[in-house]
C-alpha cells in the first residue's frame, strides 16, 4: 500500500467517524481495503477514535466556554458533536480553533439574541487578546495624507448588549444586558475593552466599509476621535485598492 493511500484512509477514518466513504478516490487492492475494514473493528482503533474525539471536543469547549455555558446540555452536546463530525476541532492553535468554533455556534444562535450577543462578546474578547500579540500602534501622522483610508480594526469589535424588557437579567453578563451596554474591544486597550463614547460608536458604524479620511471629516467625525481609535487598534489604515499603508 502506498504511503499516501495509507495516511489518507486512516486520517479520514479518524476525522470523519460518522461517514463510511473513507476509500473515496483512493485506489487500493482488495487486501488493502480489508486491512482497513479489519482495523475499524479493533479495540485499538476505537481507542484512537475516542481519544481524537475527546481532544477535539476539549479544544472546542475551551474555546467557547462562556457561550456553551448558556446552552442546555443536550444542545451543547449536539453542537459539539456536529462540529466534530464535520471534521473540525483538530486545530492545534487555540485562537484559530476558537474563532472558527464561535463562528459556527453563532450561526446556530441567530434567532436567540441574548446567546448570540454572549457569543459575539466571547469571540470579540478572544480576537482582541490574539491581536494584542501583533498590535503595533500606528502613526497618526498618516491621517494627514490626502489618500488615507480607514477601516474597522481586524482585531476590534463593537458588541451591543441590547436590553430586552421581556427577559429577566440573569446568567453571565446579566448586568451588561440590564443597562443595554455597548462595549468596544481593541487589541491596544489595556484590558482589551472599554465603553465607547457616542462619537466613537458613530465612527465605528460609519466604517462599515473602508472610507477616506477626508470623507469622514466632511461627515463631522473629529480628527481626535480618529486618532484615539487608531491609537488602540479599533480602526486602522486600509484601502481596498492599495495595501501600502497597512
Amino acid at each position: 500500500m502506498g504511503l499516501i493511500e495509507f495516511q489518507t484512509v486512516l486520517g479520514r477514518m479518524l476525522r470523519e467517524q460518522n461517514r463510511d466513504d473513507h476509500l473515496r478516490g483512493v485506489c487500493l487492492e482488495e487486501s488493502e481495503s480489508r486491512y482497513f475494514e479489519k482495523l475499524r473493528d479493533t479495540a485499538e482503533f476505537r481507542f484512537y477514535g475516542s481519544v481524537q474525539r475527546s481532544w477535539c471536543i476539549a479544544r472546542a469547549t475551551k474555546a467557547a466556554h462562556l457561550t456553551l455555558s448558556l446552552l442546555p446540555k443536550e444542545e451543547r452536546e449536539r453542537l459539539l458533536d456536529e462540529w466534530v463530525d464535520s471534521g473540525s476541532g483538530a486545530q492545534s492553535f487555540f485562537f484559530v480553533e476558537a474563532e472558527s468554533f464561535l463562528d459556527f455556534i453563532g450561526e446556530h444562535l441567530s434567532d436567540r439574541p441574548r446567546e448570540f450577543t454572549v457569543c459575539q462578546f466571547e469571540r470579540a474578547s478572544l480576537r482582541a487578546i490574539d491581536g494584542a500579540n501583533v498590535f503595533v500602534r500606528p502613526d497618526a501622522a498618516s491621517l494627514q495624507r490626502p489618500d488615507s483610508c480607514l477601516r474597522r480594526g481586524r482585531y476590534a469589535a463593537l458588541v451591543c448588549f441590547d436590553a430586552d424588557p421581556h427577559q429577566s437579567s440573569h446568567g453571565p453578563l446579566a448586568q451588561l444586558f440590564s443597562v443595554g451596554q455597548i462595549v468596544m474591544f481593541s487589541p491596544g486597550l489595556p484590558q482589551f475593552w472599554q465603553e465607547p463614547s457616542p462619537e466613537e460608536v458613530d465612527l465605528w458604524k460609519a466604517l462599515e466599509s473602508p472610507t477616506p479620511v477626508r470623507t469622514l471629516l466632511d461627515h463631522g467625525h473629529s480628527i481626535e476621535t480618529l486618532e484615539t481609535l487608531l491609537s488602540y487598534g479599533a480602526i486602522e489604515y486600509g484601502n481596498p485598492h492599495s495595501s501600502e499603508l497597512r
Binding site: L3, F6, Q7, T8, R15, F47, Y48, S92, F93, N133
Partner: protein, 308 residues
Amino acid sequence: MRDKARGPVNGKPVQSLGVGFPYFAALPADLYRSDLVSFVEITPETLCRQRATESTIQIEIVPDRLATAQDTCDGLPVVIHGVELSIGSAHGLNQAYLKMLDSFQKEWPFVWHSEHLGFQTIAGDNGSRLEIGVPLPMPATVEAVELVAERSANIQQRYSVPFLLENPAHYFSELPADSEIGNEYRFLTAFTQQSGCYLLLDLHNLYCNAVNHHFDARNVIDTLPLDRVIEIHVAGGSWRDGFWMDAHDGRVPEPVWELLEYVLPIAPNVGGVVFELLEEYAIRLGVPAIENELRRAWQIWNLSHGAN
C-alpha cells in the same frame, strides 16, 4: 553541570547538557534558574500564533512571548522539540513551521532540534491541508523511510545542528510493513543510516508500546542504534479504556526510570535527558514534585556521566 563535550557526531562533539525541562510560561522562573535544570527544551509553537491569509498559513513568533521565555531561561542552552512539522505526511510537511523556525534560530540559536516521527495531517478532497487531531504512526515501509530520511537530511542541513526524530507511542498492534524494514524499531535504524540524522529515544513512549503491545522494552533497546541517540525523554502516563496512554500527566513510572538506568550507560552520545509534562499537568503537579523528578533524573545521569 553544563557544556561538557563528549562523543563525536559527524566529527563534532555532542554537547553534554545534563538534565532538562520543557519551557512553560506558567511555571515560576526560579525553577529554570535552579541547579536542577541545565538546559531547556522549547516547543517553539507555544511562543507563536497562527495566521491564515487567503492562500497560506503562517506561524508567527510572538515577540513578547519569546522575550519572556528568553528572560526565564536566563542563558541556559536550549534545544527545540517541535510538534507541528508532521514530517511523515505524504502530501507534504508543514513548510510554515520551517519558515517560523528559520526566524526562531536567528533570534535564539539552539543546540539540536527534534520532532516526532509520524504524521498528523492529510490532504483534503480539494488538496487543502487537514489536521487529523491526533498524531499517527508511520508504516514500516521503504517508501516511508525514504521520505522521512530525505526530509530529515534536508532539515539537518538547513539548521546546521543535529536533527533528531522521536520514537512515537501508538496504539496499533499491526502496522503495514515491508520485509526490507521489518518493524517500527528497525525503521529507526534505517532512518539513521539513510539520513545521517539522530534519535530522541522517548522511554515512556517505548514503555507505552511495550505495555500495550506486550513486548520487553529492553529487547527493543538492544536492537536500536544507540550511538545515534542524542536525547532521552522520560514522562508519565495513565490508563484509559484499557490502554496505557502517553498522557504526560504526572510522575515517571518506576519501570521508565529503570529503562533510563539501563540505557544511559550503553548510549555513548546522549547529550541530555528531559522530563516531559504537559503544561496543565505541570501546574497541577507543582514545582516540588517536578523538582523531585528532576533530582531522580540527575542521580541516574550522574551514575553514567560522573557527578560534577
